[in-house]
Amino acid sequence: MIACLRLQVGSPPRQSKMIDKFPYGKAPFWLFVMAIVSSVLLVALNRSASERPDLILVTFTAAHYDAYRHAIPRFEREHHVKVDIELTHWGSLQSRLQNAILANTDVPDLVEMLEGSLGFFTRGPTVDVGLIDLTEKIRAEGIDKRVVASRFSLWTTQGRNYGIPHDVHPIMLAYRRDLIEQLGIDVRELDTWDKFVEVGRRVSKDKDGDGVIDQYMIDLPYSGNWALIALMLQRGGQLFDAKGNVAFDSEETAQVFDWYLHQTRSKDKIATDCGWAQPQMKAMADGLALFFITPDWRSKAYETDMPHLAGKMALMPMPAWTKGGRRTSVWGGTGLVITKRTKHPELAWELAKFLYFDKQELGQRYKRTNIIPPFKEAWNLPEFSEPNPFYSNQRIGLMYAELAPQTPPTYSAAVDGTARANLDQAYSRVAEYYKAQGDTGLMDKIRFELKKSADHVRELAERDQVFHRQESP
């Protein structure tokens, strides 16, 4: 054996001789070999790559991805086509998709988008819009009459419709039914926010005398954020008007700011911020807050994450701002758009309708997600009237569906993200003022800060107009 090794060492292989003969030394030889091998591999792998399917759909929510994976094989069989579905993170999808559209590279045929993002994809000159205008198709096929009207607003800009809505996302309040009953509260009487606050002041208290309040009426984020917008929409305020103009410096928003400050930051506050995900689940289990703002999609998250609260939870419509007023609001929204670069626009439209309006699919999808589709005919399906054991056997599908037509419209603009951020900043400044000055001059300060923020967003929106001005004759 050793002799054999010696023999091998003593007689170098042919390859090392080849290296020695290479005129530029060993390192360049290996660089040369690596270049050749990687080039060959690149060509070989490209050849073996599978062909592009007829349609590619990208979504950003795992629940939708799972639901579509079950549904798509039937579509493939019926149309004799191949459809691929991909799941990705929304943050990366939004910027990469827009840049890919603008750079004329390969993009998916259909994409699910998050609320507020249409303006992002329709900003700049009209020629840059990479989405197919679906207005005529929607009207021609009567889809606009079969879907909750307010939900089209998210996917409409300058009067043109670029997407179809996936959901309604009406809001109710989820509550700890067991604790509420122990406290002797009749939720049917909580039909206005005034009554809600009145009861809230009674039940928000330090139960164990350690100086820290350990039972609050409701969970509201300290910095306003999504809850502030949901309440603003319920009261009739808007981030943008139907034409996409900044509109949040309204009296409705000012009134909501005032109310929100008092419920989250005053001495007799009724709300605490339970946070998100695990901290919120812990707070809910501990009974730290009794009521939780709950759009349809969030009701499923509670079911999944807190099975030990099954039968102890229930849902009720939001209290109205005035007696007989709107008992719901809206939080979130997804829609489906078709990109201009698709080679099969008609097939993509068929897939969009199949996924969003096929009744056979919608019933099962509701059971998996609790999400109310905007397609009104689906609400009569038996799945929507099934009692839900987690929510004390309430028929939550019907409850959400009854509220769905009341959901306020929400409009989109290119500066959507900036507007949301500036609304939060205005609230933050007002909150600092309230902490220092209390109620003195509060409403004037609120109006001043709202206008300041809105004007800043208008200024930023104006920068985008430079493209449209150049387009105008």
């Binding site: 530029y24 910027s95 827009q98 700049g124 840059d128 984020p221 954020n225 946070g275 500066v415 939060d424």
Partner: protein, 299 residues
């Protein structure tokens, strides 16, 4: 035996082997560098449409309150990095420099390890630790001083920057400590010994002998810390994820987060490039001043 190779510096072969490097540098460095200068004079809609606007992007930045806030926040963070982080790193390095090698190795690993997991992980971790009522930090403060259980580190504009600085201390102190420890170990011990024999106390030995001996490393670490501070991005984005890294009233907004927002969320690559150049000029100026001061002190 010296082997003579053929004339390898002549002909096309050297250029051929240099080509991949030159091509990559041209595509990923030279072209973006030149393009970033050109873009500052344009209003863009992503990579496709652009309109020449002259110096309007710089004029906009000069008047934009949000950019000023971002610059101020970043500067505060940079000052905290130099004034808090580096002395702490130095103190730890001095402490470890005294221990035996096994203890030194163990603590070096422990203190350096936060750096192995990355800023996103640390940001997410601390966003949980800072959770009101249930977070470890709030519970510990409450247990120690009977206050702070419901303190909202990430929702209170006044506490956001302290929270970011605290998190960055945990992340970077060990990293800088390793530099200082390496420098300390290379300091000439006979000089320190001589100073002690001459009657210098520990502080005098450190200030007059040890620190000047490691000044090049200190200057390097200070400059790198300032550059790193002005590039702060992932940590606040992960820590303040609910506000996309901005924080309440922009209290956690840094210049790079601002750059990301205008360039990739608003699609204005021209304005983004202008922000990038402003940051580059600031870092360059601070670095030059730093090196000049060090040279003056040395002279």
């Amino acid at each position: 035996m010296i082997r003579v190779r053929p004339q390898q510096t002549k002909g096309l072969a050297p250029l051929l082997f240099l080509f991949p490097y030159l091509a990559l540098t041209a595509v990923f460095f030279v072209y973006p560098f030149i393009n970033a200068v050109i873009l500052t004079f344009y209003r863009t809609n992503g990579p496709r449409s652009r309109i020449f606007i002259g110096l309007d992007n710089f004029r906009f930045l000069l008047n934009d309150q949000t950019f000023h806030t971002a610059l101020w926040n970043t500067t505060i963070f940079a000052i905290a990095s130099v004034c808090l982080q580096l002395p702490l790193s130095m103190a730890l390095a001095l402490l470890l420099n005294r221990g035996d090698d096994r203890v030194k190795g163990f603590f070096r690993l422990v203190l350096f390890s936060p750096n192995l997991v990355g800023q996103i992980f640390v940001g997410i971790l601390f966003s949980v630790l800072f959770t009101p009522r249930y977070g470890l930090i709030n519970r510990t403060i409450q247990a120690l001083i009977g206050w702070g259980l419901e303190e909202r580190w990430l929702s209170n504009p006044k506490l956001v920057m302290p929270a970011i600085i605290l998190t960055s201390l945990w992340l970077w102190v060990g990293f800088n400590m390793v530099y200082f420890l390496a420098a300390l170990q290379s300091v000439d011990k006979t000089l320190e010994e001589a100073a002690r024999i001459d009657g210098a106390n520990s502080w005098q030995v450190f200030w007059h002998v040890t620190l000047p001996s490691m000044r090049h490393v200190v200057v390097f670490v200070v400059i790198m810390s300032i550059i790193g501070s002005y590039q702060l991005f992932e940590l606040p984005v992960a820590l303040l994820s609910s506000t996309s890294g901005f924080g309440p009233d922009n209290s956690g907004l840094t210049v790079i987060t601002y750059l990301r927002s205008v360039a990739f969320q608003s699609g204005d690559l021209g304005l983004g490039s202008a922000v990038g150049w402003v940051v580059a000029v600031i870092i360059f100026t601070i670095s030059v001043i730093q090196v000049r001061i060090t040279n003056v002190v040395e002279d």
